[in-house]
């Protein structure tokens, strides 16, 4: 059962991304996306270890995390398309998708920026006496951001119940991890006394097992754990590359990277009829999501700054009234 659920999540994200890329090409999704194809096992395994009341923060490559936490694919696709019924009313788009009702505190477009946010949320949840936990998803590119290392320190000091999930897909845009990271990702966490574990990020079962242990430790008050989940980014850094073709990795390398496919890793664990039933269900669900997004109304331009503030400005700014004063009128003595 758990295997079927994990497969369903991986396939859901795979199918969502395929359709999202098509919608980018069709001009329905403005601005492009950062597809997470190839990395679905991380989202599936980690979110399967969470309760509905746990919280997560995500990244610019975050569709998988948001969907795995339970977001409605139709409203998610509508968000990518910038439509009013989208998760964020079309105000966030691909890089900021959020669903607070499900504990998705938002995808974040600044590399590493959400790590201290997740850790701060975790600290506050523990302080309130609950056993809820937070997960910070981030990429290998984030481990060279100072604020991430500051957050490791503070999370460890304050025993924040946060699971630090580093998705190492081998590249920070075009830069290889080996060219960017002195020392190691695990070593960064261990330097702060944070237990750190390398995980096969293409195997949903392995991710679930590691995440379950880290979550249990956090719930019990043991503080943060880092999981470095290695996977290969099958698609571009951003759909922009589909036309620009910057060519920083060879076809042979890409083929080798794709050889270990989380969809097949998990699919092989299911009876063929179970797998095809899930595929059929998802095809219907995701086709409907695309239809929903295509047909969803655009936001009214008059509402462009709705929600700029949670507490509206008081008083509402009043335009200066036009009351012409005759030039030098009052200087006449």
């Amino acid at each position: 059962m758990a295997d079927a659920e994990l497969y369903r999540t991986v396939a859901l994200v795979r199918g969502f991304e395929r359709r999202a890329v098509e919608l980018v090409r069709a001009g329905v999704v403005p601005g492009g996306i950062h597809p997470c194809t190839g990395q679905e096992a991380v989202a599936a395994g980690v979110c399967a270890a969470l309760r509905p009341d746990d919280v997560v923060t995500s990244t610019h490559r975050g569709h998988g995390h948001v969907l795995a936490k339970g977001a409605d694919p139709a409203r998610m696709m509508a968000e990518l398309a910038g439509r009013e019924p989208g998760l964020n009313r079309g105000r966030g788009g691909s890089m900021h998708a959020a669903d607070f009702a499900l504990g998705v505190l938002g995808a974040n477009a600044m590399v590493g920026a959400a790590v201290p946010i997740a850790a701060g949320a975790a600290w506050a949840l523990r302080r309130a006496g609950s056993d809820r936990v937070a997960v910070a998803f981030f990429g290998d590119g984030a481990v060279n951001q100072g604020v991430v290392l500051e957050a490791f320190n503070l999370a460890a000091l304050w025993r924040a119940p946060v699971v630090l999930v580093c998705e190492n897909n081998g590249f920070a845009t075009s830069m290889r991890t080996a060219d960017a990271v002195a020392g190691s990702i695990l070593g960064r966490a261990r330097a702060f006394g944070i237990p750190a574990l390398a995980v096969d990020g293409t195997d949903p079962r392995a991710v679930l097992a590691a995440a379950s242990a880290a979550v249990a430790r956090a719930r019990a008050g043991g503080g943060p754990t880092l999981l470095e989940c290695a996977a290969y980014r099958f698609d571009a850094h951003h759909t922009w590359e589909h036309t620009a073709r910057p060519g920083y990795r060879s076809a042979a390398e890409e083929a080798a990277g794709r050889a270990r496919d989380p969809l097949e890793v998990q699919g092989a664990r299911l009876a063929p009829e179970v797998r095809s039933a899930i595929d059929a269900e998802l095809d219907e669900l995701l086709d409907a999501a695309v239809e929903f997004a295509r047909g969803a109304p655009h936001p009214d331009p008059a509402s462009a700054l709705d929600h700029l503030y949670a507490t509206p400005l008081v008083p509402v700014p009043v335009p200066v009234p036009v009351e012409p004063v005759p030039l030098h009128a009052t200087e006449v003595g």
Partner: protein, 329 residues
């Protein structure tokens, strides 16, 4: 009536709000021993789980506050040095501030960033003497600069109760100000409403923060010759444009006294707002730090870069030249 000092007003507002609302917590460096004095007594009164000393990791603890706020706490984050806002600008302007809009109204980030001792403290040199309130007003973060103790109390209370990030600048030059107040009458002062400290008919002086006292002193000196209205916006964003317009309708002349850099500064916004309104009787003036200034260390050099009474007096004489020459109202 008892005298209330500006610093004590901040301390009292924070203590009162922490007593009223158990979700209010404090983050900052050395806040338990209260190096700035704003948090004096609070760790003892409310315990270490509500007053947290942070390591020197401004970026991390600023975003920790954001995360904590997203799940229900209300935070006051104290920065000892105004230039730390440059370090945490990403975390405030690009993160905390944008969550509400980007999430389509799902998120609230009730965090107040407090700067006790902003601006020059004289001889603290280039990296401790900035007054970057204009940056926050520019990007749309609610920005407050109280001038007197009753406003320090009331505006900090409103900031803490607001569901958005608010930056509160408490200028070093205002910390020593004392005011006779009825303590029982202290209460929240709404963000976005200015205050006329002294009514006048010849010229409006818009003064920010500690410079309100300078403006009042100059207004006193000029009494009988020039009738100066001293308008304190109190909140730079949102700006009380209606209050400003009303004052300009009364006086028709404008001088802005603003302790920040001239180009693209707060005074420039006030002048632009006035220029978009009814025609003034004289070209407006602003008295500010020089364009692009970095405050030098030596006290005489530091002072040379700060706007003050002499510059204000000269500007008022310029815009009211007609009065000075005896041909006026």
């Amino acid at each position: 009536m008892p005298k209330l000092s500006y610093l004590k007003a901040l301390n009292r507002a924070l203590g009162d709000e922490m007593a009223r609302d158990a979700s209010v917590c404090v983050f900052g460096e050395d806040v338990r021993v209260a190096v700035s004095n704003v948090t004096a007594g609070l760790a003892k009164r409310f315990g270490p789980q509500r007053v947290l000393d942070t390591p020197i990791s401004e970026q991390a603890f600023t975003s920790f506050a954001t995360g904590a706020a997203l799940v229900g706490l209300r935070l006051l984050v104290e920065f000892q040095i105004p230039s730390l806002l440059f370090l945490a600008f990403e975390q405030i302007a690009n993160q905390a501030h944008k969550f509400s809009l980007m999430s389509g109204g799902q998120a609230r980030v009730p965090v107040t960033y407090l700067l006790p001792g902003s601006g020059s403290r004289e001889a603290w040199a280039g990296q401790h003497s900035d007054h970057p309130y204009g940056l926050f007003a520019h990007v749309g973060v609610k920005t407050v600069v109280p001038a007197v103790p009753s406003d320090a109390y009331g505006l900090l209370l409103s900031a803490l109760r607001d569901d958005d990030p608010v930056v509160v600048f408490a200028p070093a030059g205002a910390l020593g100000v004392r005011e006779d107040v009825d303590l029982a009458a202290l209460g929240p002062v709404p963000l976005g409403r200015g205050r006329v400290h002294r009514a006048g008919t010849d010229v409006t002086v818009v003064a920010v923060g500690h410079l309100v006292q300078e403006a009042l002193a100059v207004a006193g000196e000029l009494a009988g010759r020039v009738s100066v209205e001293v308008f304190d916006p109190r909140t730079l964003h949102p700006l009380d444009r209606a209050g400003l317009a009303a004052s300009l309708r009364r006086t028709g002349r404008l001088v802005v006294l603003d302790d920040s850099n001239r180009s693209c500064g707060f005074a420039a916004e006030v002048l632009a707002t006035a220029a978009e309104g009814p025609r003034l009787r004289a070209a407006p003036r602003r008295v500010t730090r020089p364009e692009g200034a970095v405050l030098p260390f030596a006290p005489a050099l530091d002072r040379a870069c700060q706007p003050g009474r002499a510059g204000l007096l000269a500007a008022i004489e310029e815009v009211t030249g007609v009065l000075r020459e005896g041909g006026g109202t």
